[in-house]
Amino acid sequence: MSAPMIELAKVSKSFGAHQVLSGVDLSVGRSEVVCLIGPSGSGKSTLLRCVNFLEPYDSGDVRIEGRLIGYEDAADGARRPMSARKLRDMRREIGMVFQHFNLWPHMTALGNVAEPLRRVRGLSAREAAERATAMLTRVGLAAKAGAYPSRLSGGQQQRVAIARALAMQPRLMLFDEPTSALDPELVGEVLEVMKSLAADGMTMLIVTHEMGFAAHVAGRIAFIDEGRIIDEGPPRHVFHESPEPRVRQFLQTYHDRNAF
């Protein structure tokens, strides 16, 4: 059997004296969609950011298709930081979408999508523009290709950001609360794009507070609290059958807040 797309084993991470992740194990298979949920400050985003080593983890293993990211283990067991070049080579296969979109404001929507294709994939200006246009079309924004981010709504900006990550033809995609910064009426358009990605077989690891979306799209849900995965399983299990009081309490709070 081939290695899982993402495999985390005993991943730990501290910010100073504060332990954010305490020995997390998690595996995401090819074409699987896994949602990370949990209270704020529980370590969800940190965990996600360890997967492409945007956040260096302190110990444990994070493997992408079997290959350790961020470090190299020598034969004598010593661990060294991976060379910057190798790390970049791994990162370009991992798409990432951020809570605050993080588009480059001085480039148009097309420019934002084409830029990594030119600088990282080495495409010509024409090829990059062609592929970028195709990606913008895919997220329904071909008409906005020439618009600067400041002219786009939050939902449109996030779709451009998804197109930017997607254009690199990544092996997997990471989403860090992709709809948390959006007005409620703009959340749907972003979730639709993500659903279509999932339907196309993209491997996705998603930190989200959209429980409805998680219930419908995720193959598996992992609930994180205080840096540990305390429950994990199919949506039905986590949302309705979890034996963990903290999970039930969290979901109850969520229901209460959204009931009207």
């Binding site: 492409n52 945007l54 910057a84 970049r88 080579d89 791994m90 990162r91 370009r92 991992i94 798409g95 990432m96 951020f98 605050h100 993080n102 588009l103 480059w104 404001p105 001085h106 480039m107 830029e115 990594p116 600088r119 990282v120 600067y148 981010p149 400041s150 002219r151 950001a161 930017r164 990550a165 690199m168």
Partner: protein, 223 residues
């Protein structure tokens, strides 16, 4: 006011203005380059180098420009550095302004949201490409107005060069005043020249600013 007098001294005033522009342009441009280099070197986060550059900035921001010029021009020969007045003036201006420009660039870089750099990192962009394509354009948006401001201040600091006998505008004006026993006419001529210079610089600055913030102007004109 005696226009005849100004007319008679016009050639020397214009030559002085030319020297002012030369020293200011060359010294300011070199100062910008040096200041940018200091900022980039500081970003390497190599501690001994950081301390050294910090010390450089403290010295050149913390002491009067005139004192630096004296040290360079009059004190230079004692360490084997023999410079003509104009060369010393240009070099002095470069060193003095670089300390300020370095701080302006540093603030510019600090103004770029870290998320924009993380986005570049996440797609595997190399540090140099990230600097040129992402960080620098963002930094310039914040840096251009204070750079233009600094250049205007520097243009007026140029009068200090007359003290080490650089034949710039102030030097010529003082010569004219001494030879003709007229204070007002010479000073008036100087004011006109300076007004022309500063007006030109601020207009060019406004155009440059419009250029680096093109995407915002785009928004305003489209809205």
């Amino acid at each position: 006011m005696n226009l005849d007098l100004i007319w008679r001294y016009a050639p020397s005033l214009i030559s002085g203005f030319g020297v002012t522009i030369l020293c200011w342009g060359v010294g300011g441009a070199l100062g910008l380059l040096l200041g940018f280099a200091i900022t980039l070197l500081n970003r390497l986060r190599f501690l001994p180098l950081n301390w050294l550059l910090r010390g450089f900035i403290e010295v050149f921001r913390g002491t009067p420009f005139l004192m630096q010029l004296f040290l360079l021009y009059a004190g230079g020969p004692s360490i084997g550095l023999r410079l003509g007045a104009t060369t010393a003036g240009i070099l002095g201006l470069c060193l003095y302004s670089s300390a300020y420009f370095a701080e302006i660039f540093r603030a510019g870089f600090a103004s770029v949201p870290v998320g924009q750099i993380e986005a570049a990192t996440s797609v595997g962009m190399a540090p140099f490409d990230t600097l040129i394509r992402v960080t620098l354009p963002g930094a310039l948006i914040a840096a251009v107005p204070p750079i233009v401001n600094m250049l205007i201040i520097l243009s007026k600091e140029m009068v200090v060069l007359s003290i080490i006998t650089v034949p710039e505008l102030m030097y010529q004006v003082q010569t004219m005043a001494a030879e003709t026993f007229t204070a007002f006419d010479a000073i008036f001529a100087m004011a006109v020249f300076y007004w022309l210079l500063v007006e030109t610089v601020s207009r060019l600055g406004a155009r440059l600013e419009a250029r680096v913030t093109a995407y915002l102007a785009h928004e305003e004109s489209a809205a």
